[in-house]
Symmetry: C2
Subunit: 224 residues, 2 copies
């Protein structure tokens, strides 16, 4: 599998340019520019995570997920493979994107708008915390199976490295806020801090949150 | 037409109970309870406003809109009548609710999610300010016509009486913020203040904004 490295994210380029301009002018860096890493905010459209076993049930024995698009977090990708979800009231979501690589559990992450379309209220959970949630049927070209639990709305969260938590003075499990500018500005509270030394600084919000503020590539964002 | 008065809004009952409890305890009212009017926050689902002339084109000569449900603002109602919208890329939204009474212009108010479904970017406008916006086809059981402009995302706004603006220290055209609590709390900035002596204190947000914070009847809200 040959991985074509994507262009750097706009926020990364802006961060480098901002740092360089302030340095050339000999001026002190304002707080956002002084951060060790650029702040990237991405909207997660509905998607699912699957185990390798589930991938094989849906797409055939020995099937491996193939890369459609690399994501900002190292090694994570949107797969070419999509599937069909059948909810508990027999309503359907088609072309549900699978994110790779495979994980140790099956989980479907939807926005509330999707929950309304499916006809039930999604529980708000942090990723992986799926005990007691509703499940659904998943259908692929080679087969289908019942996922007994794991359909959630994912808590808005920020991925941070220890370098980032030190700069912002927070720790894993804390809550921050994300101030989003533009014509329909808003501030998202209760942004869960998730820490791993492999993480690149990135906020994940869902499509409802992204549409509420019409988040665009050039919308100013600040972590507070 | 017999208008059945709806039950009082939950926020109205809460406001009265809160004021009464503080008074009985002989304690000073906290700021939200001291407000002259209760704060009602409602989610506006996609809808349209029509002229009487348009209603007659769509539903037949002499047709009058009929009340499906009274809204919180005096005299405003969701009509039983709905229509079909055909967007500029021939995509369709069915069962678009009409709000009555008729107005002096035709206007369709959608959420960004609807704009994505229709395949074009909605301009963010205050109600009535539709110059230069895209239009659509509207189709009813008795006819159809082309609306040449007026498909917008309505700016989030708050209806206020002069009594309310005096309490909050704002004037028409100002921007306030709405803090919404609960598990997916957020603060909506750029909330346009609209004033009329007939207005009851009410914030209107759209379905994207309502779904972003999962606004429920008991979600705490504060105007700041």
């Amino acid at each position: 599998m040959v991985a074509i490295s994507p262009l750097p994210h706009r926020a990364v380029v802006e961060h480098l340019v901002r740092q360089s301009v302030y340095q050339r002018l000999g001026k002190p860096l304002p707080r956002p520019a002084a951060a060790p890493n650029p702040l990237v905010v991405n909207v997660s459209a509905r998607h699912c995570h699957l185990t390798q076993e589930s991938v094989e049930v849906l797409f055939g024995k020995g099937h491996q997920l193939t890369v459609h698009k690399w994501l900002y977090q190292e090694g994570q990708f949107a797969a070419k493979e999509t599937l069909t979800l059948i909810g508990p009231r027999s309503r359907v979501i088609s072309n549900l994107r699978i994110l790779g690589p495979c994980r140790s559990l099956n989980q479907v992450e939807l926005a509330y708008t999707d929950g309304i379309a499916l006809g039930f209220e999604l529980p708000l959970r942090s990723s992986g915390n799926i005990k007691g949630t509703l499940g659904c049927m998943l259908m692929g070209p080679a087969g289908f199976f019942e996922m007994t639990e794991g359909v959630i709305r994912a808590l808005r969260h920020v991925h941070m490295s220890p370098e980032d938590t030190a700069f912002y003075g927070v720790k894993g499990g804390d809550e921050m806020a994300l101030k989003i500018g533009g014509p329909c500005a808003l501030t998202l509270d209760k942004l869960l801090v998730r820490v791993d030394k492999s993480f690149k600084l990135e906020v994940h919000i869902d499509t409802d949150e992204g549409n509420a503020c019409n988040l665009q590539a050039d919308t100013p964002c600040e972590l507070i």
